[in-house]
């Protein structure tokens, strides 16, 4: 028999083996009792003594080689050193799972409402299609009042010819101040999140629709100082990073006095200082509730006082996520949505 041929076949065979069961098959084939090598040893008895000695030595060497190959391979397989189908490459990326994303306005709204809820404010909601009375007149902004200019309005086309009260798309969430007080007695603290609309030419910072959160807290002793404290707490809670808050005078016909609140993100390094970061950004109009509103709600005069505010949700989201164009919120683009 050709021992050289046998040796070569066995060597190739064992190099391809990747698991122990194949190795066992190999062992039976090359080292088993019925292996070619065993049969060869058996056949030696028929040879002359000299031939027996020479061939026997060669075959013995091969048997020793085979057993050592076998032992090494067995050892390798058991210690997982050669490639196996069960092998885990811990550096390979994991299988992807898919999740959608909440819109940044939703997350921002949730953050803000959560903060106010922690401070004991209840959430109330109101209609987007609103009567002129609640949007304007009840807030001390009768027709002809110059302050109406502050709220460019989208009006609803009347459905019938008989002019009842004119309807519009609410320009702010403030109508809910009067609506709520008509049916509720103080003390209370509420917030009113909702969609609002303005007649507006859209650009990077103006939109025809936007969201506001109205706040109203009324009691016997709710003061301007209280307003300041509540807003400072909430702003701190919303922007986990530190922000500066600034209060300055403003005017709204349904407040007295009126206040405007600005914020500015604290930046430590120069590289963080972009233009938008270094400016005071207006986030809410506010003030002490005008006593005319209490009168309209039928409250006893001179007993109740409190504050109200209107917070711009888009504004907060834009500051929080460094979004520079308000129109991105309402033009669903997968490349934008997936980022949140």
């Amino acid at each position: 028999m050709d021992l050289k041929q046998l040796k070569k076949g066995a060597e190739i065979g064992i190099s391809l083996i990747k698991n122990t069961s194949d190795l066992e098959k190999w062992r039976i084939k090359y080292l088993g009792r019925k292996s070619i090598l065993s049969l060869f040893f058996n056949s030696l008895s028929k040879l002359s003594l000299e031939e027996k000695k020479e061939q026997g030595q060669k075959a013995n060497a091969i048997r020793q080689l085979f057993s050592s190959l076998y032992k090494k391979k067995k050892n390798d397989l058991e210690n997982n050193l050669s490639v196996s189908s069960d092998f885990i490459d811990i550096t390979q990326p994991g299988e992807k799972t898919y999740q959608g994303h909440l819109h940044p306005l939703t997350s921002t709204l949730n953050d803000i409402t959560n903060s106010f809820q922690k401070m004991g404010f209840s959430i109330i909601e109101g209609p987007e299609i609103e009567a002129e009375y609640y949007n304007f007149d009840a807030l001390n902004i009768p027709a002809g009042h110059p302050a109406r200019e502050m709220w460019d309005t989208l009006w609803i086309k009347p459905t019938t010819k008989k002019e009842k009260s004119k309807m519009l798309l609410r320009t702010h969430t403030s109508p809910m101040q009067v609506r709520f007080m008509e049916t509720n007695k103080p003390p209370f603290r509420i917030i009113v999140p909702g969609k609002c609309f303005r007649y507006e030419a859209t650009d990077a910072s103006h939109e025809i629709q936007f969201h506001q959160i109205e706040g109203l807290m009324v009691g016997e002793n709710i003061s301007l100082s209280n307003f300041k404290a509540i807003i400072e707490e909430v702003v701190k809670d919303i922007f986990k990073q530190k922000v500066l808050v600034r209060f300055r005078p403003s005017y709204f016909p349904f407040t007295s006095p009126g206040v405007e609140v600005d914020i500015k993100i604290k930046t430590k390094t120069k590289s963080q200082k972009s233009k938008s970061n270094d400016q005071w950004l207006e986030i809410m109009g506010a003030g002490m509730v005008h006593p005319d509103l209490f009168k309209r709600a039928g409250y006893v005069t001179n007993r109740w006082q409190g504050f109200a505010f209107g917070l711009g949700v888009e504004r907060i989201a834009m500051i929080k996520y460094h979004i520079d164009d308000i129109r991105l919120f309402f033009s669903p683009d997968i490349r934008f949505l997936e980022q949140f």
């Binding site: 999740q99 959608g100 507006e200 629709q209 003061s223 100082s225 007295s256 683009d333 997968i334």
Partner: protein, 684 residues
Amino acid sequence: MKFSYNWLKDLLKFKESPEKLADILTMHFAETTVKYCGKRAILDVELLSNQVAEASGHLGLAREIGAILEKKFIYPKINLKEKNLNTKDLLNIKTESSNCNCYLARILQGVKIKESPEWLKDALADCGVRSINNIVDAANYVMLETGQPLHTFDFDKISSKSATVDKKEIIVRQAKKNEKITTLEDEVYDLSEDIMVIADNKNLLALAGIKGGKESGIDKNTINIILESANFNGVNVRFTSKKLGLRTDASWRFEHNLPLDLTDYAVDRLAQLIQEVAGGDILKDKVGKGVSKKGKTLIPIKWENWEKFLGWPIKKKEIIHYLSLLGFSLQQKKDYLLAAPPCFRNDIKIKEDVMGEVARLYGIDKIHSVIPQEILAIPVQNEFFEFRKQTKDWLKGYNLEEVYNYSFISEEDKNILPNVWQQKLIEIQNPTSALTKYLRPTLLVNFLKNINYNFRFVNKIRFFEIGKYYFKNKESLKEHFVLSGVLAQKEKSNNSSALFYETKGIIEDLFNRFGVDKDNYSFKSLESNEYSLLLEQGTAIYKDKDLIGVIGIPKEYLLKKYDCEENVIFWEIKLLPLLEIVKEEREFQSLPKYPAIIRDISFIISQNILIDEILNIIQEASPFNLEDVDLFDVYVGENLSSGTKSLSFHLTFRSEDYTLKNEEVDKEMQKIYKVLKNIGGEIR
């Protein structure tokens, strides 16, 4: 509004830099920024609506800065050298309209029209006003100085009172029907009776408070002039200006109800300035309807109110100090303060206004923050709000992206909609463009636009939105929150049924998460429902007899219109009715006492037989102890003849009264095999 920094400095003699001044104004008055016109600093003050009457002139703003800087401001005194000839001998003013609060006129004779001196031109340029000639510029300058709009007429162009009397007459009246006026800029306006005009006996001279007329304007040959200083009703001026679409600096000022006292001071100041820049003689006195002295507004404020309202202890001395700086007259009583606002502050009406002024001057930013000492109370949960929030969170988990679309649809969108849908649209009276003409009656239309746009970037779209749709019901306007969404896949070859089942699965799972049992709602065909005009195939979700939502494939005409001829599944579910179902009481069911026996069954059956029918048939065949039937596998394809499907169910048998025996269940199974064979089922 633009103010010249140098002008203010001349009036008040302060030391603050333009930037410092802008800061102070922002924190105590109104938002102010600094701009430069060459080397001259300009303050751009965003006057608040209530501040226009008080501070739209440099004098007013200087007075305000004086109060903030605690620097006494003194109004410049005017000394006029008047001629002996009296104005009333040459001019008569007739005020017929009740919209005219006061109207004063002076006459200057022998003026010389020419270019303005440089200082005057510069001052106007700083405030963004174009120079015309010395007379017009002087009038604009005094307006910028005092806040009072002024007008000048050419005396010789005004007609006489009558043919017999050689005396000019100016009439303030409402316009007549069909009257027209040509303004200085040659624009012609048609007037109506609700518009106030200035006229003589022949012509219209001006639109009161808005714009001068061409007939009476100053030109290069003018020698004698009439100065007008008047106060018109703000609402009427605003109305006219809106109606004619003509807004001017003057109309903007009048809209804000200027103080009446300004007229007198301003007309004298203008006479003085014109004499300075154009020469001429000032006639004695002024004519017209003067200001009737009003009693002062007195506002009593209890001393105890201050801390209660503002929130920090503030001393009487401080209160008096700040209010005096602002020009209030004060009387201190034992229990209260009697505050009278100065005549130029007609925006101060109630005690809160007065207390607010003190806070403003003190600095709202500096006041103490005090957490309110209120009763601790857990806020009332807003069920509907929380429900929507939870829904969004769960939908996100189904790999859906949340979007916010516009609440509007366009004229073009309207035209594609079926009649029934068109009729219930709510229309906007003054849309910003054709794109925002109607409120959306369904979220479908805008979603279809999203698909087309986003297929530029991806092949698969999974969007949802929770928002309102709007519609008209007879005369009432309705708005409802809905949960809508789309699943869309680019290749048409992929069958849309898989996408439909996926959507249905999401909806079912969502309902299940809210604990809504399948017994509480049902899927029916679209049939007569108005969504059937929008959807080709699909299902309607019902709670008893009420439609609460739909799932389906948009009709071909819609897909074509919005260029998304792909696989699209849309759904829309009314949220309030869904919440009602979620809120329905769920009772605990006692745990089963006896074990169940579960058998599986698989059979091949025609695809035309609906799963619902099969479920019903199985239930009817074994009405007593069959607890649950659960479809766990549907197979269509290789090895099955076309038009058939293979279905596999788990059947759970249980008795409430005893342990079922295998033989009993075998019997039940035989019944079920039989009915299934009856409808063509081939048991495997």
